[in-house]
């Protein structure tokens, strides 16, 4: 019987990486066929495969950690580095859209009427729903920290309650934003105002949905007794991601909603 004499994780051979690559090809080719040939099927197949693969890959990681004990301290350290680096890459992703916004808004062209907001654009009042959204996300940052402390103190009920609250706040934000999108007096096609607004806030909204899904997974795992009071990195990663989403919103609110109005 062979046992490893080191603390690192030699992963079982897995089909998910190669299948993930195939799914990515289906997504890209699917987009092209949707744009140019009005064909939806490959895109839908690609989206379905991607979801199935993500579910199974992360399910396997839970199995390897919670059920098989492979996430030793050095392994967890590597996962921490990985999550921090991933979030850093997302920061750069958003930096690009903020660059685009400031490029267009600091020196508005004559086509926009030489002003920002451009002529003819009625902006959203930053002190109405956007301010409520800010309060909602800030509150969710508090509740996720409460959940973390409850988890560390082995207070099961409190951790579950705080996580549920965080998720409700996240969903509330999404619902409010969806309503704002529907009611907005301008569209994505309304000059660079529309494009910078909807692309930046749209990607942010997508990240809120991703973060909420991550938190819902943590809630499920917490109810299934996966987390212990000193080993719950999945939850910490979700909390880091959620704080990142919150900070991006604060920058969006200050730049686009407030300064840009």
């Amino acid at each position: 019987m062979t046992h490893q004499t080191h603390l690192f994780h030699m992963v079982n051979p897995s089909p998910w990486p190669i299948m993930g690559a195939m799914a990515a090809m289906m997504l890209t080719v699917g987009l092209v066929l949707w744009f140019h040939c009005n064909l939806n099927l490959i895109l839908l197949l690609g989206l379905t495969s991607t979801l199935l693969i993500m579910f199974q890959w992360w399910r396997d990681i839970v199995r390897e950690s919670t059920y098989l004990g492979h996430h030793t301290p050095p392994v967890q350290k590597g996962l921490r580095y990985g999550m921090i680096l991933f979030i850093t890459s997302e920061v750069f992703f958003f930096l690009g859209f903020f660059w685009a916004f400031y490029h267009s808004s600091l020196a508005p062209t004559p086509e926009l009427g030489g002003q920002w907001p451009p002529t003819g654009i009625t902006t959203l009042d930053p002190f109405e729903v956007p301010l409520l959204n800010t309060a909602v996300l800030l509150a969710s940052g508090v509740t996720v920290t409460w959940a973390h402390h409850s988890l560390m103190e082995a207070n099961r009920a409190s951790a579950i309650h705080a996580l549920i609250l965080t998720i409700i706040l996240g969903l509330y934000f999404t619902a409010l934003q969806a309503m704002e999108y529907y009611e907005a007096p301008f569209t994505i096609a309304d000059s660079s105002y529309g494009s910078t607004f909807f692309v930046a806030t749209g990607f942010h909204g997508l990240h809120v949905i991703i973060g909420s899904t991550f938190l819902m997974t943590c809630l499920y795992r917490q109810t299934m007794h996966h987390f212990t009071s000193n080993h719950h990195f999945g939850f910490e990663a979700a909390a880091w991601y959620w704080h990142f989403v919150d900070v991006v919103w604060l920058f969006l609110y200050i730049s686009i909603y407030w300064w840009g109005s």
Binding site: N12, W16, M19, A23, M26, V29, Y67, L68, A157, N230
Partner: protein, 116 residues
């Protein structure tokens, strides 16, 4: 004062007694019940304290740990048997089928005259 090894700081940090007596990773799979007290009145065992009361379902992790640690040579993505196999085969079928369809669609799209 009790201590535990903190996975965040990678060093010893202060801890409560519960963490010291039930360190993560060393909890026995079989529950260790204290022998009944000679005074007859049941004492409150640590495992019965409010923090361990089952909220939202009982703890199935120990049984799942036993299941997944069975040394039968099965890889982790197929370890649970039939449901795993079904999901894997469905996903593989979608991925392979979709990829082949992609290549065919790209071939057709690159032949403008044929599509007339």
């Amino acid at each position: 004062m009790y201590y535990k090894f903190s996975s965040f700081t990678q060093n010893l940090t202060g801890a409560v007694a519960a963490a010291a007596y039930n360190p993560q990773g060393l909890k026995p799979l079989v529950s260790t019940e204290l022998p009944s007290s000679i005074f007859g009145t049941p004492t409150k065992v640590a495992s019965e304290s409010p923090a361990a009361v089952s909220y939202w379902g009982k703890n199935k992790v120990p049984e799942l740990q036993k299941l997944f640690q069975k040394s039968d040579g099965v890889l982790v993505h197929l370890k649970q048997g039939v449901p795993d196999k079904l999901l894997y085969r469905t996903t593989m079928a979608l991925a392979l089928g979709g990829s082949i369809y992609c290549l065919i669609a790209l071939y057709m799209a690159s032949q403008p005259k044929n599509r007339k």
